[in-house]
């Protein structure tokens, strides 16, 4: 590849042909301010519409300033990123954006995390010289996501995530000129659209135009109600990211501190979604082996591959887009919902509390979990199995609100019986983890032999679609893995056209799996954060004494005391579900 020589801010730099000015500047430590641009390195995710014009630089010999995020370097270029002309243009552009942006920073949900606020600070803007019309658009509230497009800066990151990465196609720029907004078709509300609530739009929005529905107030009210027993479950991916909210390095495992903080917040029992993840493996693993053995015995009615069903955005995705295949995913509920059902039917008996007096709170890396917990089928006579699902970010704000000094908290342990988990439960948080956990159990049940090594490196990684073959004592089990709904779509289309030959497929909606979920601390375009969380998840697994779900003593006890065996009638009733056709049918 040809190398290009150029000068940026009087410093010489040599970069590969095809590099943008923005990237070339970064190589020599010059950070040109940006707003619409976002690149998640190594994940193939990039947004550079060149629309905001904040990153303009002066190129010697050119009449116009060049947007550095989309302008490729050329031999001999002489660039100034901070000439008076570039600075003035950058300030003018930012002031114009601010002139049509609500100035309610003090009370805004994104204050302190807002990239527009950061930009205004960085550029030292103290006055807005332009007064003009302000957008007046209605707020759109759904079960999981709030759209406040008055705060939209038209960076189009959400649109890129929704269309290119997730291929969900809900968000698009509509209308023209000053009236232009990013909205669903016909400007309908999100809850009427095919939105999956994956929350990747929320994860990349630079401002508060897209945020999660805030349930912290409801949780505080429940905690302060003496007539309620309030229990909490924490998803695996939360412990690998929560520390970031307290200025800890990404990849710090804060499991013990998180438990300690939850206890201080006043939860009566601190339990673990990892326990329910182990339970999921018992059910889903059994379902896999049942379908597999029927298939091997020549039963033509048995559908393979079996697809995982832990991810609520993925479930909603296939209900809208692939309803003809709704019999293929496992019927197993997600760990969050399994936990809720066990808590409200088994744990209530144990502690002798009435269902309506038990409040189940989930801490999730996800915004779709809010929607999932509100689905009708997961409630009994109007009382939901999971009362409130809050994100990692919302938990952090609760901890701050309660004046808890997170970093100096002692490490504490989960309560029993729903707090015990294995390494298999922990790895649910990363792409490939669910299927690895399933393989650990399915292998031993199917072959009757103990695994020498429980680590299946071939199932791990960041590649969007991965495949592996695992030797089940003579049977080659073919496994597929996809994260990101666009990748899931590819695997589904292969199944539909009969090209797929997998036995089992794991699908997660968010890039990286739950660690990259829409409810996690904002990564602000830094993909290394997600990688570090992944390493933390596998570290937690390696540190566990028990690493196979079927060896979790409390899971065994739960079956003995209450459920009977996996896929029993009771298990079916409480731990399995059915899916719905949510597609639009056009007919005359």
């Amino acid at each position: 590849m040809e190398m290009i020589n150029l000068t940026i801010d009087k410093k010489p730099v040599v970069v590969k042909e095809g590099t943008t000015i923005l990237e070339a500047a970064a190589e020599i430590g010059i950070k040109v301010p940006t707003l619409c641009h976002m690149k998640l390195h190594d994940m193939g995710i990039e947004n550079k519409p060149g629309g905001c014009r904040v990153c303009v630089v002066e190129v010697e010999g050119r009449r116009n300033l060049a947007p550095s995020c989309v302008t490729k370097v050329e031999e001999g270029m002489v660039i100034s990123t901070s000439s008076i002309r570039a600075l003035n243009a950058r300030r003018t552009v930012t002031e114009l954006i601010l002139s049509d942006h609500p100035a309610d920073c003090l009370t805004c949900a994104k204050s302190g995390e807002c990239e527009l606020q950061d930009l205004a600070q960085e550029l030292g803007i103290r006055e807005i010289h332009y007064k003009g019309e302000q957008s007046q658009y209605r707020e759109d509230t759904s079960p999981a996501i709030i759209r406040d497009v008055n705060k939209c800066v038209m960076c189009r990151r959400c649109e890129m995530m929704c269309n290119e990465v997730q291929t969900v196609g809900v968000l698009s720029a509509v209308n023209r000129g000053f009236d232009a907004v990013v909205a669903p078709a016909f400007e309908m509300n999100l809850d009427h659209s095919v939105c999956t609530y994956c929350g990747q739009c929320v994860a990349v929005c630079p401002t508060a135009a897209l945020t999660e529905v805030d349930h912290t107030g409801a949780v505080i009210r429940a905690l302060s109600d003496p007539s309620k027993t309030v229990i909490v479950q924490t998803a695996p991916a939360v412990r690998a990211a929560l520390g970031e909210e307290f200025n800890m390095e990404a990849g710090n495992l804060v499991t013990g501190k998180m438990v300690s903080a939850l206890r201080q917040l006043g939860f009566d029992y601190i339990f673990d979604t990892d326990f329910a993840a182990d339970l999921t493996i018992m059910e889903e693993g059994t379902e896999l082996l049942n379908r597999l053995s029927k298939h091997l015995n020549g039963d033509k009615d048995v559908k393979l591959p079996i697809l995982t069903s832990c991810c609520p955005a993925w479930v909603k995705f296939f209900e809208h887009q692939f309803p003809d295949m709704k019999e293929i995913p496992s019927t197993a509920r997600s760990p969050q919902q399994m936990f809720g059902a066990i808590a409200k039917n088994y744990f209530t008996e144990k502690i002798n509390v009435k269902r309506e007096d038990l409040v189940v709170v989930s801490i999730m890396p996800c915004v779709a979990k809010k929607y999932e917990s509100a689905r009708d089928e997961f409630a009994h006579e109007g009382n939901p199995d999971v009362d409130y699902a809050i994100t990692t970010r919302e938990l952090a704000s609760l901890i701050k609100l309660a004046n808890i000094e997170f970093k100096s908290l002692p490490e504490e342990d989960f309560d029993q019986p729903l707090g015990e988990s294995t390494g298999a439960g922990v790895i649910f948080g990363a792409t490939g983890g669910v299927i690895e956990a399933a393989v650990r159990t399915a292998y031993e049940v199917y072959t009757g032999k103990g695994l020498e090594k429980v680590d299946f490196e071939e199932l791990r990684g960041m590649e969007g679609i991965r495949e592996a073959t695992i030797d089940f004592d003579g049977l080659d089990l073919r496994i597929g893995i996809a994260h990101g709904l666009g990748n899931a779509r590819k695997l589904l289309e292969d199944i539909r056209s009969g090209k797929s030959n997998f036995h089992a497929i794991e699908i997660m909606s968010c890039p990286g799996g739950c660690i990259g979920g829409g409810g996690q601390p904002y990564h602000h375009g830094d993909a290394s954060v997600i990688r570090k969380r992944m390493e933390a998840i596998y570290r937690e697994d390696a540190n566990k004494t028990i690493r196979k779900s079927h060896e979790n003593p409390y899971i065994l006890k739960l079956y003995e005391e209450f459920l009977g065996e996996p896929m029993s009638e009771k298990a079916h009733h409480l731990l399995h579900t059915a899916y719905f056709d949510r597609s639009n049918k056009i007919e005359s």
Binding site: S172, A185, R582, I586
Partner: protein, 164 residues
């Protein structure tokens, strides 16, 4: 499962046009042009069908429909009135002509009279600047239109088709 109702004839027209363009998403604008020419407008249900046929998202289709002022989601009148707002027509008084049409028909731009007869839209340059200001009613072109002539033009269509 939400159902979208469309007349069978409409479904066939849309499907045929999409097929003519090989159901290629890249031909979206051409498809919209053709469908609007046939149906007069692009209602939501039709956009849903186009998105399905072209394997695109309905948000994207709606985005294009709302970006170009040529496309409309409200049915046009039997006699659609278009007033050219191009530079030449504008400086020769097109705005006053437009205002007169709006006043006489009690109609806003993009809307249709209750009896479905007339609708008003603006367009940009029909390439007859020598005749500025230009008004089109359906395919018929009127040149050098003054506000005083507006009543007469409307009257031509009031009782059905004009003689000429």
């Amino acid at each position: 499962m939400p159902k979208i109702k469309l007349a069978e004839k409409t479904i066939n027209i849309v499907k045929e046009i999409c097929a003519k363009y090989d159901n290629n998403e890249g031909e979206l604008i051409n498809v919209l042009h053709n469908v609007q020419a046939k149906l007069g407008y692009l209602p939501a249900e039709v956009q849903e069908l186009i998105a399905k046929e072209l394997n695109s998202s309905v948000a994207k289709v709606y985005g294009v429909v709302t970006f170009y002022s040529f496309f409309t989601m409200t049915p046009m009148g039997e006699f659609p009135i278009s007033i050219c707002m191009g530079t030449a027509c504008y400086v020769r008084g097109a705005e006053q002509v437009l205002d007169e049409f709006k006043r006489q028909l009690k109609l806003e731009i993009g809307k249709t009279t209750e009896d479905g007869k007339f609708s008003i839209s603006c367009l940009r340059c029909v390439g007859a600047c020598g005749l500025a200001p230009v008004v089109m009613v359906g395919e018929k072109v009127y040149g050098r239109v003054s506000p005083q002539q507006v009543r007469k033009i409307i009257a031509e269509y009031q009782d059905g088709c004009p003689s000429s």
